[in-house]
Symmetry: C2
């Protein structure tokens, strides 16, 4: 078992796959099918151009409600010398009433809008157009073809209406219909098999905690054990494939068994165009993917120099032809689908009778971020090629990095970033790097790619960001930094209903003020205790934001206390107990308000940091501390009651503190932040926060400093 992958550069890896597909005759539109021209056709990609079969309009049409005349007869009509047109006798009238769209009668060559005529009755006197007039009078001449839509004004027979490769939009459907079509020839959707493998995988919905199961009443799946992994990569991959114009098939989970995986791959090969094998693409004891591909076909690539996601496998496997009968049955509904690529001669054989002798297979890494990026990097361009559309591309913008990034020189490094516009500058804040952190992809507003050979980027450097969101969306984003409080999650939810996005980075109170000073956020959450005065935050404004006019607004009062396991097994009652033998503590990082609070009270009580086991074990959020205690990694930590409740812990209240929002005036008075103050002032929000344990909302919205 080789424990090392031979990572090759991304372009080489793509080139190898492409040339293998070219050899197999698969680097083209896979096939075409004829579909009816209805709303389900949107998004489908034309496999052939649409040429006009007919002209539109196919006759000379009146462009208005009015009267058809011969332009020549109107010559000389003037306000002083009107000209009258008889509508009778009906077999040879001088004028004929037409509704918009009616055909111009033979011999007539112009239309006079109804509002420009005087209607006359049989007696020759003015009459209301409500009653059928017997003649009409005009006081202005008209030129030939005025208010007429001539034949072919919109579309002329034989002209190109839509080119092949066009993804159909609503108006395209209308144009094709106007051109005389009622079906269109589109690329068939590539069929992609997604094969989750791994004995540790369990289906989503399985519930990791009976407590939670009872509480939520929800998902009845089996109990998760430590080491069980929820299998949702196949869900993400299937959704990607559907979004990219493919037809995904999610197979059941296959255990880590070489023969079972081989059998599953061959089963999938029968009626799919591409196989995604997830995971087992690395080089661990139970990573069978490479071996499976080698056995069933050709291993092209094992390991690509991209992060995250380098243990990618690319290969092609032989298709077993006996599979196709079965496929034929399956597909028999779809007689339209042919094996016709662009420009080729149409073949009479439905394409499921002409199996591809080779089928590409991609070994997708197991970490969710790696899996999703593998989809974007390798699968999307392939689906584009197979359907004849262009690969998707994200708009690129330049932004300033808020933090240094270090990056392995040998890889293309895909760094997820949150992007926000602060004071007219576009900022990119790197998010968690872990390949296991799918929430970082959810929060990502874009991707910064640090190419091979680049070792990283400095804070303040300008980088290109591939944006996942529109500029307009980013302009609605409120960038919040600093200390974390669960109220911010609620705030984000309420702001979403006020057309704002709250992107928050949790770096602790002091780092938040520093970032604010650097102009890298709109506001910061802070609960910094001043040991001198016992007051919160005020003293630190002068220190960290000298000369910056700031609005300091109280958000909540909250209890700080010790988070301990249910029943408080170690009997921790006060900070004094932290230095007791066998009590393992978990701390917050330097600069965190909670850390300051701790140090403040420890020094008052004369307790030394050294005497506390785990004092140097740092977590970055209250929930991180709670998770450490819940998992048994520590016996206790200092934090807020809500965090204790979140993970079903006991809470030993110790101190009351205030959590404020620090907002530079320039932002506080911007329309961007206006909804934030509305929300904070609203009863709904106040009540929602009040429902969380340990929160005091009486101070909410109080302006502490306005300078």
């Amino acid at each position: 078992m080789s424990v090392y992958l031979h990572d090759i550069p991304l372009p080489d890896a793509k080139a190898r796959l492409q040339s293998a597909l070219e050899d197999a005759g698969l680097w083209r539109v896979l096939g075409a099918e004829t579909i009816p021209l209805d709303e389900h056709a949107i998004g489908r990609v034309l496999a052939e151009p649409v040429w006009a079969k007919v002209s539109s309009p196919h006759y000379h049409a009146s462009a208005m409600d009015g009267f058809a005349v011969r332009a020549a007869d109107t010559v000389g009509a003037q306000p002083s010398t009107p000209v009258t047109f008889s509508l009778l006798p009906s077999h040879s009238p001088q004028a004929v009433y037409l509704d918009t769209g009616d055909a111009l009668p033979e011999g007539f060559d112009a239309v006079i809008p109804i509002e420009n005529v005087e209607s006359l009755g049989p007696d020759g006197n003015l009459t209301s157009v409500l009653r059928q007039p017997s003649s009409v009078r005009i006081r202005a001449a008209v030129t030939p073809w005025s208010h007429v839509r001539p034949l072919g004004e919109d579309i002329v027979a034989t002209q190109l209406v839509l080119p092949a490769g066009q993804a159909l939009r609503p108006v395209d459907l209308g144009a094709a219909a106007a051109a005389g079509h009622r079906t269109v020839r589109v690329a068939r959707r590539p069929r992609v098999a997604i094969l989750p493998t791994g004995s540790e995988l369990v289906p989503i919905g399985s519930d990791p905690s009976t407590a939670l199961r009872q509480a939520q009443g929800g998902s009845s799946g089996q109990r998760l054990k430590p080491g069980d992994i929820l299998e949702y990569n196949s869900l993400v991959l299937a959704a990607q494939i559907k979004a990219w114009g493919g037809e995904p098939t999610r197979f059941p989970i296959t255990p880590d068994d070489f023969d079972a995986i081989c059998a599953r791959v061959q089963e999938a090969a029968r009626d799919h165009d591409l196989i995604l094998l997830n995971a087992g693409s690395s080089a661990g004891a139970e990573d069978f993917s490479a071996g499976v591909v080698e056995k069933l076909g050709t291993l092209l690539v094992h390991g690509v120099a991209v992060r995250p996601g380098h243990p990618v496998i690319l290969g092609v496997i032989r298709n077993r032809v006996e599979g196709n009968k079965e496929l034929g049955d399956k597909e028999s509904g779809n007689k339209e689908s042919g094996n016709k690529g662009l420009g080729e001669q149409e073949t009479q054989l439905p394409n499921y009778l002409i199996p591809n002798p080779w089928i590409p297979i991609i070994g997708v890494p197991g970490y969710p971020v790696s899996a999703a990026l593998t989809g974007e990097i390798f699968v999307e361009p392939l689906l584009a090629r197979w359907t004849g559309r262009r690969p998707l591309e994200h708009p690129v913008a330049q932004a300033r990095l808020t933090r240094k990034i270090t990056s392995p020189a040998g890889d293309d490094d895909y760094v997820r970033v949150a992007v926000g516009e602060v004071g007219g500058k576009l900022l990119a804040a790197p998010l968690a790097r872990g390949a296991g952190v799918i929430s970082s992809l959810v929060r990502a507003d874009g991707i910064v790619v640090l190419p091979r050979g680049v070792q990283g980027a400095e804070a303040g450097e300008t980088v290109d960001v591939r944006l996942y969101r529109s500029r307009a969306e980013l302009e609605r984003t409120i960038f919040c930094i600093g200390s974390h409080d669960m109220t911010l999650d609620l705030l984000a939810q309420f702001l979403a209903q006020h057309d704002r996005r709250l992107a928050s980075a949790n770096v602790g109170s002091q780092a938040g003020l520093v970032a604010l000073k650097r102009g890298e956020a709109h506001l910061a959450g802070s609960h910094l205790l001043d040991p001198e005065t016992g007051e919160y935050n005020v003293a630190y404004l002068a220190q960290y934001l000298p000369g910056v006019p700031v609005r300091l607004m109280a958000l909540v009062g909250r209890e700080q206390g010790l988070l301990v396991k249910r029943g408080n097994p170690k009997g921790v009652k006060s900070l004094g107990d932290l230095s007791r033998q066998g009590v393992r503590f978990v701390n917050r990082q330097r600069g965190a308000g909670t850390r300051l609070l701790l140090d403040y009270h420890l020094s008052k009580m004369g307790i030394s940091a050294e005497s506390i086991q785990g004092y140097n074990q740092e977590e970055y959020t209250h929930l991180g501390v709670a998770a450490a205690v819940a998992s048994g990694r520590a016996d206790c930590g200092l934090g807020i009651a809500a965090a204790a409740q979140a993970l079903d812990l006991d809470f030993v209240p110790l101190f009351q503190e205030r959590y404020d929002l620090v907002i530079p005036k320039i932002h506080a008075e911007s329309s961007l932040l206006a909804p934030l103050f509305e929300v904070v002032a609203s009863a709904e929000f106040r009540e929602a926060v009040g429902r969380m344990p340990g929160y005091d909302v009486t101070v909410m919205g109080k302006i502490i400093v306005e300078a």
Copy 2:
């Protein structure tokens, strides 16, 4: 019957609709339903936030393939002083092998990657990791929690995972699954009824010409008569609604009958949230929509000051409750769907049992461009509101107008424009203004809105364009102007396969050279005859493009001749016949190469323009001329053979001419145009053009001038 509409400003119209919906309690998310977390959930809009039910990971997981140890045991390990960990006995080992994702055994707090250990056999000697080692040796200490993914690293129970109002993306589905969900609560899709009305309407696919029907072998629909109108607005509206997250229902065509329309509207009202009545929204003899709305409910607006599309009707009608039983049956599959708006209490009643007492109805104008814009202006924002997502917004860019636009001061004028980047400048070329010209929407790259009070914009003025295409797409667009030739349609098709869009504006050869000089196109098609030399185009370069280095490339040689009805009823054989009594001619516009060719030969033959009936009747393309002849509007016109064939006309060949492409060198040498020269050089293109009648491809690609 009032023949005038009372157009009101767009914002007022929208405000009236909104307040009526607020009164009816319909200005909110219509309802929510629970759907499984699978690939079909993408694009659905969350009706409720997703909070984490569980943490991810829910245990301390190994981040690598390697060996779990106690970090404390590794202290002092150095290259010179390795530390050995026994894997035995299995009930109390010092180290334990873990695959990536395995749970850290109780008491262990770090993982050492497999590549950093030496495996020892029972004899204590080095062994291959291929065989199960009995102990491992390390030469470096590790810190606690290294290569471990602690509980909650990705998601911590109770945190906000996704806010309400979020349109679900693939990674969002993964995050929701990781957070312990297997269903999500999303806004139900608003049901929209589309009611085509009009006795003149016929279903799409109906065939306007038996000749074409035989030729194409296609659509078997009944024969179209003059005055019949293909009904495809319902197709475009349905596709828009589907794309915007609604559920469209297309009703059969209802004839122009007041009672029939009333009945159809009431039928639709039973199980839909919105009714689109198309058309009859104007004020003509058979425009019943306003009357229908007044009879069944309240007419809020009749006429909005927007162009195209001002005859819009907005109203609300009463729902008839007896309809709901039926609906209940229909919907019984969908027990999940509730009538729950954001933040409201969940009701136990499925929402189809709580019909809206009022239902909005929109009278959509009949012209296809008006109908499509009415969808964008009124329907899309409503569907956004009803599903809780943001209204769509197009990116806005600034571009330079290539032509003057005049605009009615009283209206918001929606001007369709082609957009291209020429020499670094973004250009907006106004397209056909006609509300009946759906091809103008297909070709539109964006919309320029000239607001009320603005009378127009000058050529060269900078305007805001709402872009329908990405900047990247526009950067791939080749802007071609000048004379029209059918070869350009084929060229566009071939270029589409080479990742280029060809946008061509047909203004005639001379106007094309003028536009080129102004830097408003990449190339121009031209066939300007020099009466002195009998040579094409060369002489005009000096005249129109002085000092501009240009590549002049021959595209095709083609026959010019007279287009006449089949059998040439008027017996037109030469230009001499044009002045004959009773022969109606149709001309090309001034500046067109064909016009020059005509004048050249007329003067040589001593025939005066005045002697030709219809000399001043101008068409802008060859196909326009052919259409005029085919429709009987004229007996003959000068044009190319392909145009004659297009409309099944006879062709009387008269002259041979050359059609060239004029390309400023700066563009000719750009990578943007490189594919154009590839295509022109390719055998496929040459053959495709050669298949068209009257074309000589021997000159194709020949460089006439390179200076």
